[in-house]
């Protein structure tokens, strides 16, 4: 009962952050759109060989957001791209936060040579220019969604690892951990019962912020033409627009919507992350 009341308190705390609530609403809408995309988008509407509309149609009655260089509806492309962007953002963030948490907890808890080695690896990844590494990875590995996720995940974990390590060290210094050791608790007990529960709230906050940067990274890679050519994503739309001359055509309707959508979703994730941070951090 009291666990629920605590959750209730947290929910009330979150609801007090208006910006966070607005972000959450935006994300809910985006998630809904991506889940319902198959209902909106007829099977052959995005097939280049079957479209009937003319290329570069400005927004109008038939096409709310106009058409692209092949006559496909930009509005339907946007709907179709939502899922890809969110999926890549979420999985890449989970991967990066997962690696970061593992490295952080292990190096913070065990210390010694292992921690030294892990920290050097973390430093190495921290100083690597993430985008360059991601580009290198996606050129070497077969092109596809998996590669993009791997490239983003492998380059963005060091900051999480640093933060989790710092938090682990502060928890390990607390007397209740000493008490657990004196009770006979081993590594698994100390990590599982004391370290992880205190690290998880921070990690969750970090994950929402990581999703935002993963979405930006995905868009960047796709814009540079390193994305999955068979998938439609917002970054890939920008890539197409740039490739087929949306600017000389003055086809703003092909450039603005994906750009704005990226900004809005990233902002929404950031707002939610900040609000969560304010809720889970104990007040002083």
């Amino acid at each position: 009962m009291s666990v629920f009341s605590r959750l209730g308190e947290r929910r009330a705390g979150f609801l007090a952050h208006r910006a966070g609530v607005a972000g959450a609403v935006v994300l809910a809408v985006a998630a809904l759109v991506s889940l319902l995309a198959p209902l909106f988008v007829p099977a052959d509407a995005l097939d280049v060989t079957r479209v009937t509309a003319d290329a570069w149609q400005p927004p109008g009655a038939g096409h709310w957001l106009g058409t692209d260089h092949t006559g496909r509806s930009v509005a339907l492309l946007m709907v179709q791209g939502t899922g890809t962007s969110l999926f890549v953002g979420l999985t890449a963030a989970v991967l990066s936060v997962g690696i970061g948490t593992l490295v952080g907890v292990v190096s913070g808890h065990f210390g010694g040579l292992l921690a030294g080695a892990l920290l050097r690896v973390t430093d190495f990844f921290l100083v690597l220019p993430a985008l360059v590494l991601a580009i290198a990875l996606s050129t070497v590995l077969p092109r596809g969604l998996g590669t993009i996720i791997l490239a983003i995940g492998l380059t963005s974990w060091p900051s999480t690892a640093r933060m989790v390590r710092a938090q682990t060290l502060t928890i390990e210094a607390r007397p209740f951990v000493e008490r657990a050791r004196a009770l006979g608790g081993g590594h698994a007990h100390v990590i599982g019962r004391h370290v992880l529960p205190s690290v998880v709230p921070l990690v969750l906050v970090n994950a929402t912020l990581a999703v935002a940067s993963a979405i930006v990274a995905e868009s960047t890679l796709a814009f540079l033409g390193l994305g999955d050519p068979t998938r439609i994503s917002w970054g890939a739309m920008l890539h197409q627009a740039q490739l087929h001359g949306a600017v000389p055509q003055r086809a703003w309707w092909f450039l603005l919507p994906p750009g704005l959508a990226i900004v809005v979703v990233v902002l929404a994730f950031t707002l939610v992350g900040r609000a969560l941070e304010a809720v889970v951090t104990p007040k002083r």
């Binding site: 007397p175 000493e178 008490r179 004196a182 009770l183 006979g184 608790g185 007990h189 205190s198």
Partner: protein, 507 residues
Amino acid sequence: MLELKNLTVHYGHKRVVHDVSLTLAPGQMLGLAGESGSGKSTVAMSVLRLLPKTARVEGEVLLDGEDVRTMSWGRLRAVRWASASIVFQGAMHSLNPVRRVGEQIAEPMRLHSTPGSVAELLEQVELPREKARAYPHELSGGQKQRVMIAMALACGPRLVIADEPTTALDVVVQAQVLAVLTRLVAEQDLGLLMISHDLSVLAQTCEDLAVMQGGELVERGRTHEVIANPRHPHTAALTAAFPVIGAPQHRWTEPAPAPQPLLRVRDLVVDYGRTRAVDGVDLTIGRGEIVALVGQSGSGKTTLARTIMGLRKPSSGRVIFDGAEVAAKGRALKAFRRQVQLVLQDPSSALNPRHRVFDAVAEGLRVHGVDGDHEALVTAAVERAELRPASLYLDALPHELSGGQQQRVVIAGALVLQPRLLVADEPVASLDASVRGEVVALLLRLRAELGLASLLITHDLGLAWQIADRVAVMHQGKIVEQGPVEQVLLTPSHDYTRALLRAVPQV
């Protein structure tokens, strides 16, 4: 000089100070005693209007006849530190760790553009003037507290408020700091308002005493009269809670015949890098015996306890428990830890703030994979620790409990494994006087009912007198004297033991 008239402070609807009237003259030392939550610190903060904005202050706070409550902001800033200053509690947290202490002492002088020299101030508090260049972490606890006092004196105030100036210092250092304060009051004709939960400290230094309880002033008068004939029951309870070494009514235990040894420590040495923390210690604890290990902070007593528990590896020497040497790791060490349990000084940090009482107590059962009905075992342990009925407490989070209740939860967490030895590191040092007695009695009762032996690590000789069978005095890593309580505390043979006993404040 300072006059409080009918001071009342509310936080929202909660009244924390009610109708307190006090006066303080130059050269006078007034002690303000009370337990945590009695409102004594709030009274102190109201003198310099340092209370948060949410506090509603009524009544008059007259500083040299001027009401602090109605002063303009500029006037208040001029009065702060120049007329009245504060020695905050917890010197380790009140100093900026990244600045030299000399700069920090000079800070109020610069703000008020008062002339003076840091070197002179350091001399007044009996610190060498070179220490001005030291950073806080390079100083000991007592030295930091002196820096705080020097800082309070920087602008030549006439009133100094000392909020728990010696809490967390050991007896010897405490005596030195109190001596410095007393001398300064006499030399500079200061008024000193000293706040403490420790009646014996106030009795030692202040000629006048005021006692607060629940926000009200319950008693006030000359110290020796108040202590000798307390008129209010709370004062009487506070006075009784501080054991007098040598007084038979404060000796709560009977000396037992020499029991069989349970734990033996042989020639134990522990090094921290190049420092030798424990230097060849021999110690024996019998079955059901309570042994007090006393000494100043830094004497190595905590390291010794940690090593006995197997939390640190000894450099050499042996720990023998129940006839067998304690293993360094693996299953044997785990089995040993089931028999020996640790009770830490500060119960609020010894409990994971996210764990409910049930989980905190059941932790040991889970670690050791004990079969059986955990709920029944936990309930029994919690009730043994005198939290009755257990059902009221099992679902509570640590912050919902008082300090005494938290310490009982820690003790219950130890009892649930049915240990044979309890290692208690300052088990009552952070508790209020009234709770302290109950927890001490609980330890004694556990010995009587369960035959539980204890190693009490403490700098509090009074606690040793109350319940220990034997005392071991530790100094610079060595045990300099050990024996039955009466012998060591009443007829000490080592100089260091005598120095410790001299430093104990007397009520």
